[in-house]
């Protein structure tokens, strides 16, 4: 007997419920790639972003997303006319796409900083540097997170 339209719809409905609801209830606050690109556009505007110059040191596999060491450095002579103005770090799947904005100047001497961040999920981290000539350079790194941060319950 061929399946009726009603049977087909109820089957499709139950597949949808099984497929999406658990994800939605577990991660109601996840940033989407759309939020990531909006956050990046808020900083970069319409300027084009080139790949290169920026180096992002972050472990590819972390056991505890609550404290992930991260170092960002930019290949720049850091002179009065050619230096890094700022470095902006973003993530793909935390509840909020921003991680931090870091402002440098020629007297920094070396375009590098380190900090420790939280990652709520296995995801991509993006670092974008703004140079003194207002060009933007980016690098992305994938990080696998075993124990997620941010959304756990408080005891």
């Amino acid at each position: 007997m061929p399946a009726t339209r009603r049977q087909f719809l109820s089957l499709a409905g139950s597949v949808t419920v099984a497929g999406t609801i658990p994800i939605v209830t577990m991660r109601p606050l996840e940033a989407t790639p759309a939020m990531l690109s909006t956050a990046i556009r808020n900083v970069v505007g319409e300027a084009s972003i080139r790949n290169g110059k920026v180096k992002l040191d972050i472990p590819p596999l972390v056991e505890n997303g609550n404290t992930v060491p991260m170092t960002v450095s930019v290949a720049s002579p850091m002179t009065a006319t050619d230096y890094v103005k700022s470095i902006h770090v973003f993530n793909e799947k935390n509840p909020q796409p921003n991680i931090g904005n870091f402002y440098l100047n020629p007297s920094s001497g070396r375009a590098q900083f380190s900090t420790r961040i939280r990652l709520a999920d296995t995801q991509k981290v993006v670092a974008i540097a703004r140079l003194s000539d207002d060009t933007f350079w980016q690098v992305a790194a994938d990080v696998v997170v075993t124990l997620a941060a941010c959304t756990e319950e408080v005891n």
Partner: protein
């Protein structure tokens, strides 16, 4: 004093030195819930600034993705002896300062 500051005591003129800072703060994300479902309000440090003899040399805007007890290390060129002043500003009127001196030869 809730901050740990690591600045070299001495440097030569024109040296690039590393400054490391660690301050104590919960950095509550504002995305966590208690067992009975109530949202825990956000309480983070939103801004860090380092000044050297009054001039800003490094600044950062921080978001909830920065780990608890924020650690920051960065670099600067030293030209003269002086004092580094550090300031953390955050939610609920949080403010904290620290300072460290360096002798430049």
């Amino acid at each position: 004093m809730t901050a740990l500051i690591n600045v070299p005591a001495k440097a030569r003129r024109g040296d690039v030195i590393e400054i490391r800072t660690l301050t104590s703060h919960i950095m509550e994300t504002g995305f966590r819930h208690t067992m009975d479902g109530a949202l825990v309000p956000r309480d983070i440090i939103t801004s860090f600034t380092c000044r050297y003899n009054g001039t800003e040399i490094f600044r950062a805007d921080l978001f909830p993705a920065i780990a608890a007890n924020p650690y920051l290390s960065f670099f600067t060129v030293v030209q003269e002896s002086g004092k580094f002043e550090f300031e953390w500003i955050g939610d609920n009127g949080y403010s904290s300062t620290a300072s460290a001196s360096i002798t430049v030869e």
